[in-house]
């Protein structure tokens, strides 16, 4: 079978905020670029982001990027790389102004400037008063950003491959990435896209948990592609559980609810966050709030007949604020709960939300693998990553709300900038690595086997339940060990799955089968990394090791698929121009 081939200078896999920001920069610079996405660009999950994007614009209260940097380092529980964090916080204002120029319909202040709301973990003056740093378009910021970015890509004539699914990277014997094998979902036909530089911007993997805030398509494909290409995943044990998902349902209610003045209450009507975080209260960091809710429920102060959730109170904000600032939230509550936040309490519970870990990159967006010598890094030539699938790492062990939308555009742009240079410095395409292509084709061919076997849906559900049970908010050695066994068993059983639908045209079952393989690889990375880390830091809470252990564990985890091996590398504590923020006890 001969596969069609297309050649581009640059290939961007993913058309969420990260991929579109990169694609726009590449297209505007005249680089011949293909942007591939398994869903039409505006259906990417960036569209669901609600609360906003952080930048120290100081439109509401005094602010500066250095305070933003401090909050981010502290929020990361000192696992974030301070060079990358400094870079991100410093360019944030410029990046947000740029978005405004692209047409993002930000909400406005009386003076006509971009409206900013307070979000968790934000402070003025290195831990002082609450800051208001999150630039918002009502509670539809992600939608506004994604659509504006797509619109500017239309203006720039970016070349899109809509509804093409990337199977795997092509990598030659010298370690260069030379493109990817994709399939056109509509026809089921494979296609090789060759490129001098490839960017992974495939987003998160929240679908590995049973209750999550993520879209059906958030299956961590890019991360699994990296793993299969011999590249490690970094810090996968750090998975964020958002405090305010609708209980049992998973839909997200933005932190902006609390930013606008909402708060949490237990069954006694007590505003319990005052006990856990006397200063920041409901706007403490997400890991802190999620654990507090968990504790309330465990100690019998949960709400509802089963006492299995707590309440978010918004009614005191008044109809006007709710309708102006949180209209989407109100819609969601009315549609899915028959409750109106203007009058009713809303049942919430921590919900799987965001992966801090991902494909290791430096702040130029280049993917860095483990080097030959212990503790060193080596750039993977021709490969870049940005957005939720990447780990720069600006979020470390816990991401602050509003910092992901920032991360995706900052590093989407930075990666594109470096791809442009790389493409110009390397005018010729490298040869197509036949061996690598054969391997990838094999992965696709495996799904042509027919016969009886478990179904994709059943195993996907089993995997999600296993992760929720054995690798959730609170963890210990024994449950994690069981988790590894369970996931390993599921990985084995996936080999027995057979597709009943062998058709080509728009076969969503085949896509879901490939996604299941991806999810399972990532779940394995997550539970293995979590099992090894014997401390509590940020979102990783070990009951058996409740303290943070800077002497032994202030380092990044690297998980390799082959042999399920782990390696570690130091945190980059040295910022670019300012002084390092040394680890301190984290209180809010």
């Amino acid at each position: 079978m001969s596969i069609n081939r297309r050649k581009f200078d640059a290939l961007v896999i993913g058309a969420g905020g990260g991929g579109l920001r990169a694609g726009l920069h590449l297209a505007r610079e005249g680089v011949h670029t293909a942007v591939v996405s398994k869903v039409f660009p505006t259906r990417s999950h960036t569209v669901a982001a609600q609360g906003g994007i952080n930048a120290a614009l100081a439109n509401m209260v005094p602010d500066n990027w250095h305070w933003h940097m401090f909050d981010t380092v502290k929020g990361s529980d000192y696992l974030g790389d301070q060079d990358a964090i400094e870079y991100m916080c410093k360019v944030a204002p410029k990046i947000v102004y740029e978005l405004e120029h692209f047409g993002v319909p930000f909400s406005r202040t009386e003076k006509g400037k971009i409206y900013q709301r307070p979000f968790g973990g934000q402070s003025q003056n290195f831990g002082g008063d609450q800051a208001a740093r999150t630039c918002a378009a009502a509670d539809r910021t992600g939608h506004a950003m994604l659509h504006s970015l797509y619109q500017q890509n239309i203006a720039a004539n970016t070349h899109f491959f809509d509804e093409y699914f990337a199977i795997d990277l092509l990598r030659d014997d010298d370690g260069h990435v030379t493109g990817a094998l994709v399939i056109e979902i509509e026809t089921g036909e494979p296609l090789v896209i060759e490129a001098k530089a490839t960017l992974l911007a495939t987003g998160g993997c929240g679908q590995m948990y049973k209750t999550n805030t993520n879209a059906h398509v958030n299956t961590g494909d890019g991360m699994a592609m990296a793993l299969r290409a011999g590249i490690p995943l970094q810090d996968m044990e750090f998975f964020q559980f958002h405090p305010t998902g609708i209980a049992g349902r998973g839909l997200l209610l933005t932190e902006g609810c609390r930013g606008e003045g909402g708060y949490l209450v237990n069954k006694d009507g007590e505003r319990f966050m005052e006990r856990y975080a006397p200063n920041a209260k409901d706007l403490a960091s997400r890991d802190v709030v999620s654990r507090a809710i968990y504790t309330e429920v465990k100690e019998g102060r949960g709400c509802g007949p089963d006492g299995d959730h707590v309440h978010l109170k918004l009614s005191h904000l008044g109809a006007d604020v709710i309708m102006k600032r949180l209209p989407g939230i109100r819609d969601t509550c009315m549609t899915f709960l028959h409750k109106d936040p203007i009058t009713d309490l809303i049942p919430i519970y921590p919900t799987a939300h965001y992966v801090m870990g991902g494909i290791p990159t430096n702040r130029a967006g280049e993917v860095v693998s483990v080097g030959k010598r212990k503790g060193t890094e080596a750039v993977v030539p021709g490969l870049y990553a940005a957005g939720e699938c990447a780990c720069v790492s600006v979020h470390g062990a816990n991401r602050l709300g509003g910092n992901s939308l920032l991360d995706i555009v900052v590093f989407g742009r930075a990666a594109a900038e470096n791809m442009i240079e790389y493409v110009r410095a390397n005018p010729a395409h490298r040869d197509l690595p036949e061996k690598s292509l054969e391997q990838v084709e094999g992965r696709l061919a495996r799904w042509e086997q027919t016969g009886e076997g478990p179904s994709v849906l059943d195993l996907r559900n089993e995997l999600k339940t296993a992760m929720e049970t054995y690798c959730g908010v609170y963890r210990d050695q024994e449950t994690l060990a069981t988790g590894i066994e369970k996931v390993a068993e599921i990985v084995e059983r996936i080999k027995d799955v057979r597709l009943k639908d062998q058709s080509k045209v728009y076969n969503t079952s085949r896509i879901e089968a490939l996604e299941l393989e991806n999810l399972a690889d990532i779940a394995m990375a997550t539970v293995t990394s979590a099992h090894a880390r014997q401390e509590s830091r940020g979102a990783h809470s070990r009951v058996d090791f409740p303290e943070r252990d800077d002497a032994n564990w202030m380092q990044h985890t690297l998980y390799l698929r082959e042999g399920r091996k782990l390696a570690y590398k130091p945190v980059r504590t040295q910022p670019l121009t300012v002084e390092s923020f040394p680890p301190k006890k984290r209180t809010y």
Partner: protein, 231 residues
């Protein structure tokens, strides 16, 4: 609950047909999307698009009991049995409930759906008053699901020439934006008997929009502006 679902796979079916499925247990708050996921668990061959599950990505527009709607926001409890699910009307079917939206996207691109501002870029944001920003409410929230255009008779009859409610709503979104400077150019682009003027105010679009947007009103605003310009 009984479902009748439109099935068509071009590789094996000469003609589309309706297939029946029964779901014995229906949760109180269940929506059509959840029912389809369960059905797909039983019958892998059923294809449909869906993603966010909360009415923001716009993937899962389909014709449910005769009208375009998002599967993820349509409650089973509100539907008469058997629930009849077909692909949205007016666009070519690729397979089952999946339609080819190329024409719909082409009309969107035709209205230059992006901010055009030719001034040198300011160092900071363009200023915009709260009142001017409010003019964009009810416009920018469009999720491009196509519920409106696929219920619009004018769009069915002139899919190539009439831009349809979605694209026209977006045309107005930029005309209404105080930061945009391409008003004349945008209006010129809408000249002619078809692009704009095929709207006969039938209001189907308004009735079905899952985001509560009002394309008819937007079209009215454009017509007014055209008139002003002509004078």
């Amino acid at each position: 609950m009984r479902f009748r679902i439109y099935r068509y796979n071009p590789e094996t079916d000469r003609e589309p047909y309706m297939q029946e499925y029964d779901l014995p247990e229906i949760g109180a708050d269940m929506v059509v999307r959840e029912a389809l996921i369960i059905i797909k668990g039983v019958d892998e061959t059923l294809s449909f698009r869906h993603s966010c599950g909360e009415g923001v990505c716009g993937s899962d527009a389909m014709n449910i009991n005769g009208r375009s709607a998002l599967a993820c926001l349509t409650k089973l409890a509100d539907l008469a049995e058997p629930v009849e699910i077909r692909p949205v009307a007016g666009l070519p079917v690729i397979r089952d409930l999946v339609v080819d939206m190329t024409g719909f996207y082409r009309q969107y691109r035709a209205v230059k759906p992006y901010l055009i501002n030719r001034d040198p870029e300011p160092e900071i944001e363009h200023l915009q008053s709260i009142e001017d920003r409010e003019k964009l409410d009810g416009l920018y929230e469009c999720i491009m699901c196509g519920c409106c255009s696929t219920m619009c008779p004018s769009f069915w009859w002139n899919p190539d020439k009439y831009l349809g409610p979605q694209a026209l709503l977006q045309a107005w979104r930029f005309l209404a934006d105080s930061r945009d400077q391409a008003t004349d150019e945008r209006l010129d682009d809408l000249e002619g008997p078809y692009k704009l003027y095929r709207c006969h105010t039938i209001m189907n679009c308004v009735e079905v929009c899952p985001k509560g947007l009002n394309p008819t009103k937007a079209i009215g605003h454009i017509k007014q502006l055209m008139l002003k310009k002509a004078i």
